[in-house]
């Protein structure tokens, strides 16, 4: 290394960073850490929350759907039982009518 290169080396020698430099870096590191600690908004955690929400909505929706299906079934059953009761009542009334009407007619004669 000749004199010129030594001069170049002296001109480009390392300089100390500003005194506050490490503190500034640590402030950015701290901000980075806080950003990473937000679980709801971070990658995998957010995916887990979305998946869990989908499962909860599916389960609640499924249970509600089943309840409504059973209610509809019970309603249909009650309706059929009522219709059957009406039919039985109608038949009994016709039987009574068939027995009573001839007696009434005979009395009039």
């Amino acid at each position: 290394m000749d004199r010129f290169e030594q001069e170049l080396k002296d001109a480009l020698k390392r300089e100390p960073a500003p005194e506050w430099f490490a503190d500034a870096v640590m402030a950015r590191v701290s901000a980075e850490r806080q950003r990473k600690q937000k679980p709801v908004w971070s990658g995998w955690a957010r995916m887990r929350w979305v998946a869990a929400s989908v499962v909860v909505v599916a389960v609640v929706g499924g249970v509600r759907f089943e309840q409504q299906r059973q209610e509809r079934f019970r309603g249909e059953q009650a309706k059929q039982e009522l219709m059957a009761a009406f039919q039985v009542t109608g038949m009994k009334l016709r039987e009574v009518e068939e027995r009573v009407l001839p007696v009434i007619h005979r009395g009039e004669e």
Partner: protein, 182 residues
């Protein structure tokens, strides 16, 4: 935490865990801040840009601590990342931003070797070199790296590094000779 404690941090088996803690990472920053800052400062000759790039390099280190294998690897990683970020930032700015030469006096005749004004003139001349050649000069004369190491770090053939050095030094010598004669 001093340099000795820092060496202990790095030597201990769980150094990566320690490095992730505030005190451990701050020790790493203090140990290497002069190297990272000086690479950026000698490349840009702009304090604001040098500080910004050096901070970015350490933040990138914090994010990549898991990939650092040893103290030697840490130092080489910081040097390589600082060099690449300087070149990238220079290219991103499209050479449009003027580099302020803070407090630079005008060169005048009668300067001799060792003169502070002459050294500042030299720094200004280095800052005017093309970005790759400038980074080769910074790594050689600031970091005292040999051409093989520089070639490996910047991903260029060794003969290209030699060529940058020969031409760079030749050009600076010629320009400075003219300034000193005037």
């Amino acid at each position: 935490m001093g340099a000795g404690q820092m060496a202990e941090v790095m030597a201990s088996a769980g150094w990566r865990t320690t490095a992730r803690e505030d005190a451990g990472f701050a020790a790493i920053v203090r140990e290497h801040q002069s190297m990272v800052y000086s690479i950026a400062w000698n490349f840009f000759r702009n304090r604001a840009l040098a500080e910004e790039i050096a901070q970015d390099v350490f933040l990138a280190l914090f994010r990549n601590l898991g990939g650092i294998e040893s103290p030697g690897h840490l130092e080489a990683w910081l040097r390589r990342t600082a060099s690449n970020r300087c070149i990238d930032a220079w290219r991103k700015k499209g050479h449009k931003e003027e580099i302020p030469m803070e407090g630079l006096p005008e060169p005048s005749g009668g300067m001799k070797m060792g003169d502070p004004i002459l050294r500042e003139t030299l720094r200004k001349m280095v800052a005017s070199l093309p970005e790759q050649q400038r980074m080769v000069m910074v790594l050689k004369y600031t970091e005292d790296m040999d051409p093989d190491e520089i070639a490996g770090m910047l991903g260029m053939p060794v003969r290209t590094v030699w060529s940058h050095l020969r031409r760079g030094v030749g050009m600076l010598r010629e320009k400075l000779g003219r300034v000193m004669e005037s």
